[in-house]
Amino acid sequence: MIEVRDARKWIQNGARRVDILKGLTFTIPAGQFVAIVGASGSGKSTLLGLLAGLDSPSAGEIWLDGVPIHNLAEAQLAAVRGRKIGFVFQSYQLIPTLTALENVLLPYELNSEGRGLKKARTLLNSVGLEERMEHYPIQLSGGEQQRVAIARAFVVEPPIIMADEPTGNLDSTNGRMILDLLLEHNKRAGTTLVLVTHDADVAASADRRITLRDGLIVEDTLPFVPEGAAEGVRHV
């Protein structure tokens, strides 16, 4: 479960402070597929960065499966990212000097014992890249690169997958294939999927949609109500 409590993010440019997120509070239960939507500059990617432990909030708290990641030391934060979160980026973010197989293997090498080679191959097979394992990113198409990125996100079997506009750079066929892979994994493995998008169709396929505008939540289609709180409401 991911819990966000009054999270704020600003950046300081000299004497000027730019507020990006202005106090967000919400909870994402385990296994949910959440789409974060909003116009460009609304703070979607910044929020995703905070949820994934890629950045720290300027104020507020982020809890991930009971772990307060907003004030974790750098090494522990790295462990959270490595073990609990798989990330898929809009621009793939593959390491250009590594082959597809090596890219998939990398999180395993960084975070797990053993070789992981078999698992990496299986995952690449499952995303249809059995013929492209020894290819470098530059030798792959955009769709293929994103499939490598998805395999990489799955390799350590993290309970949460975060995706930042994963279909943003792809044509509709490839975009659909990527989305299917993510959804299928969400259903099959029961992972939480947090996806940032501005594609209405993609957002529509999510369990829940959180809409941001100017750093604030303006819509949450399925706000999480804790069990106790729900009972309390009923009693009233």
Partner: protein
């Protein structure tokens, strides 16, 4: 919410980190070539110097007996007295089977008739039946030494034949004798023990020396007793005991046992090795800075990859581990390349040292030096790379999502915040400084030298960096004012100096350090030589005469009175040798620590004068009036060292007059323009009555007339030796030239390191340059236009580095010369050569590092983007 256990971050295993590091290296091996080269340069220089020193020391050890010519050697300063010979004979008697021989060395004049012009030679007389006990004299043509020295013959160094345009078989006139040149002396086993020669070697037999009449009582000669001990030694007798006996038998002698080597040589070797190692360390530090810059540039370019790695779970310590291993791997490869090149440098050094080396060094693989070079190379590389590597901690994984432009607080608070953010780098910087001190200490074997080297180098680099920064700022300031008036390729080339990622200031500082090092050595050398020449003023004698016998005095005086070109009357001074028994009531043993050589008191050179000599100024007391006054006048320097004042008592013993007490009557300072200034002790003539004296002289002659004078004097007085100061200066100059050549050779490694940094910096901005070239081409620029633009950039960079180096070298040498009380002059020609040379080298290196860019086709690059 209940807190779940935190996932424990497992450190990346070293093996896995090594695999990732290796994968990263393999992705662009060419990019790291400059890193490898940067490490290799310093290691090569250090392994070369220390390896050679190790081999030289090894040779000294294995050839120790040959280098001394015996098991023991005892050098006496003068010809051995009858008493000394008797004492030695007594020692010999105690050791059945021992063999001894005396070797005499002196200076003399020699010529090859019919050419009457003589040259100064260093003469060595040996007993060919005994000499040398170990090793052998190599002759050309090959023949045994006794055969070569039989009868009236001599063997000579090749230099003598060259200078006199003579050949083997011709006649050599030496003293009053005509000798046949029997062979060329190609190698003399104990040359290293003979000391620096003032002229080419001539070797004759002892019998021939006696026949030349060159040796008279009091002549300036030295003798070495060579002793070969029996093997096995007689029971109850050990070499150290024999040595002690010899020291007792010859109390004034310097006794050397081959087992301990020649201390003056090993000390000299240690000092030279220390100085040269430190020069190499400069190249090594510059190389390490180059590696650090290259790694910094590499990490800057890999910022996205680092962010991805962090996003997929790598911690800062994992990244540090990966890049530390990468640096170490590169350092190791560079170190091994450096070791291979260092072995080449080691082989080349004998040629670089030229005639400075008295021994043929037998080369062997220098394990210790290789270990030292490799270890030092790796350590400096690692230490200097730590600050840039630590920057991986600052890489924020959120970079994968968006590039936040966060400049942080401004003003003084912002400055301190930025300093604080880099506290670990500052601590590492201090560790680097301490490590540099430790390395310099280890290389020089002196904590003091280590401390000053580390502080000096750090300060120099800091000042050079500031100078470089100021130069670049000034250029930019000037450029901003005139840029639109400049031709476009010049403007574009100058603007390139400020290209993002260009490490112009660091390149300037590194290249400037090399220029500074080489120019400083040159400026010091030329200033010292100029000073030596300037102090040889017209008022000083430019010709010295030695070993004039008393019966030749009137003749020599008259000779100079009738010579053309003599600008001042010849000055002649008698020298009598005596021994001080006590000074101020203390025996010589009790004043061993007074910083006056014991030999100067045991074998004191005394002269007499009943009136105050010309050029001497009495500082205390007054000159005696009676020729038999029991007084002595002492030079200021010696008086200070021996704590002598007016009325102090000394006990003196001379051969004829025996023992007497004298009181210090005067303390004087000589103006050093007169020959009297050469004596430190003057007594009334009555105090040296009947003593055997040798006379010395000094004259000033118009330089052009010196050869004619030498010719005539040699014809009339063949045993009088003439030392022409101009010849000596030439000889000193050639030795200084050779020493500075060695230093320049090693300082050249620093320039090379600086150029490698430049090349590395160019390589790290290769993609930007490619883009620029492609954009220019797309806009219609020709290749020549791009060549011009880049050439402006490289040559201005070189020129600025030259300016920085020239300014700092002049500042440094000015301070140094002021302390040495030597006049400083700006040497414009040297500065111009340094500037032009650096600009040319920088331009050449720049083109070597970027020539491929020119051939690129625009589409190749644009498509890759």
């Amino acid at each position: 919410m209940s807190e779940a256990p935190l996932p424990r971050k497992q450190a990346l295993s070293w093996r896995r980190a090594a695999a990732i590091a290796m994968r990263d290296l393999k992705s662009a091996p060419g990019k790291f070539a400059f890193v490898v080269l940067s490490v290799a340069i310093g290691v090569a220089a250090l392994v070369g110097v220390r390896g050679f020193s190790e081999a030289f020391r090894h040779t000294l050890g294995t050839e120790a007996r040959s280098l001394i010519g015996g098991d023991l050697s005892a050098r006496v300063f003068g010809t051995p007295t009858a008493e000394e010979r008797t004492n030695v004979a007594a020692v010999e008697k105690k050791i059945p089977g021992v063999r001894t021989t005396w070797v005499t060395e002196t200076l003399s004049m020699a010529s090859v008739p019919p050419d009457p012009v003589p040259i100064l030679v260093t003469l060595k007389a040996v007993d060919p039946a005994a000499y040398p006990f170990y090793g052998e004299a190599t002759l050309d043509p090959q023949m045994p030494l006794p055969q070569a020295l039989a009868g009236d013959s001599a063997i000579v160094a090749d230099e003598l034949l060259v200078r006199l345009n003579a050949h083997v078989g011709q006649t050599l006139r030496l003293g009053g004798k005509q000798l046949r040149i029997a062979a060329v002396l190609a190698q003399e086993p104990d040359r290293i023990s003979a000391g620096a020669g003032m002229g080419p070697r001539v070797m004759i037999s002892r019998a021939t020396l006696d026949a030349t009449g060159l040796l008279a009582p009091g002549s300036r000669a030295s003798a070495r007793l060579l002793m070969k001990l029996p093997d096995p030694m007689p029971s109850g007798l050990t070499p150290p005991e024999v040595r002690k006996d010899l020291e007792k038998a010859l109390p004034d002698a310097q006794v050397i046992d081959y087992r301990e080597g020649n201390p003056s040589i090993t000390e000299g070797l240690d000092h030279a090795t220390a100085i040269l190692s430190l020069i190499c360390l400069v190249a090594m530090v510059l190389g390490a800075i180059g590696v650090a810059m290259a790694m910094h540039a590499h990490l800057e370019q890999r910022m996205d990859v680092l962010a991805i790695l962090k996003a997929v779970g790598a911690g800062s310590s994992d990244l540090l581990r990966i890049f530390l291993l990468q640096t170490l791997g590169l350092g190791l490869v560079g170190g091994l390349v450096g070791v291979a090149a260092g072995l080449g440098v080691m082989e080349a050094l004998p040629a670089v040292f030229g005639k400075l080396l008295p021994v043929h060094t037998v080369m062997a693989f220098p394990w210790r030096s290789v270990g030292a070079g490799l270890g030092t190379g790796l350590l400096t590389t690692l230490l200097f790379c730590l600050p840039p590597l630590l920057d991986v901690r600052k890489v924020r994984p959120v970079l994968v999502l968006r590039r936040l432009v966060e400049s942080g607080p401004e003003g003084i608070g912002g400055f301190f915040a930025r300093v604080w953010a880099r506290w670990l780098q500052i601590v590492v910087g201090l560790v680097v400084l301490i490590a540099l001190f430790g390395i310099a200490w280890a290389l020089s074997d002196s904590a003091l030298v280590g401390k000053w080297f580390a502080a000096g180098l750090a300060a120099t680099l800091a000042v050079l960096l500031v100078l470089a920064w100021v130069a670049l700022r000034f250029l930019r300031f000037a450029l901003n004012r005139v840029r639109l008036h400049l031709p476009s390729s010049l403007r574009h080339g100058l603007a390139n100096l400020y290209r993002p990622g260009n490490q112009s200031a660091a390149v300037l500082a590194a290249l400037g350090t090399g220029v500074m090092l080489i120019l400083s050595v040159y400026l010091l050398q030329s200033s010292l030589l100029r000073q030596i020449k300037e102090t040889a003023s017209p008022r000083l004698p430019n010709v010295f005469l030695i070993d004039i016998s008393p019966d030749e005095i009137d003749g020599v005086r008259s000779f100079f009175a009738h010579q053309q070109g003599v600008t001042a009357p010849v000055e002649l001074m008698p020298i009598v040798r005596g021994e001080f028994q006590s000074i101020n009531g203390k025996t010589l043993d009790q004043i061993k620590d007074e910083h006056v050589p014991q030999r100067m008191l045991q074998n004191a050179e005394l002269t007499w004068a009943d009136t105050q000599p010309e050029g001497d100024k009495v500082l205390q007391g007054k000159w005696w009036t009676k020729p038999d006054a029991p007084e002595i006048a002492v030079g200021e320097w010696v008086a200070q060292r021996l704590h002598l004042s007016i009325g102090s008592e000394v006990e003196l013993e001379t051969a004829a007059m025996g023992h007497r007490k004298l009181k210090v009557g005067a303390i004087y300072r000589s103006d050093e323009f007169h020959i009297a200034g050469r004596a430190s002790f003057v007594v009334p003539s009555g105090q040296l009555k009947g003593e055997a004296a040798t006379w010395y002289g000094g004259a000033h002659i118009v330089p052009a007339r010196i050869p004619a004078m030498e010719r005539a004097l040699f014809a009339a007085y063949p045993t009088v030796t003439v030392i022409n100061i101009a010849d000596m200066l030439t000889r000193i100059e050639s030795v200084i030239d050779q020493i500075t050549f060695v230093i320049h050779f090693l300082a050249g490694f620093s320039i090379f390191a600086g150029l490698t940094i430049l090349a590395s910096s160019i390589a790290s901005t290769r993609f930007r340059r490619m883009r620029e070239a492609v954009v220019l081409k797309t806009l219609g620029a020709t290749r020549m236009r791009i060549v011009r633009t880049f050439s402006v950039e490289f040559s201005v960079l070189g020129l600025l580095a030259g300016v920085v180096g020239v300014i700092f070298a002049n500042l440094l040498i000015r301070v140094l010369l002021e302390r040495m009380k030597v006049n400083f002059h700006i040497q414009w020609a040297a500065a111009a050569v340094a500037l032009a040379g650096t600009a040319l080298l920088a331009t050449g290196t720049g083109w070597i590092a970027s020539f491929r860019i020119l051939g690129l086709r625009p589409l190749e690059v644009l498509r890759e983007e």
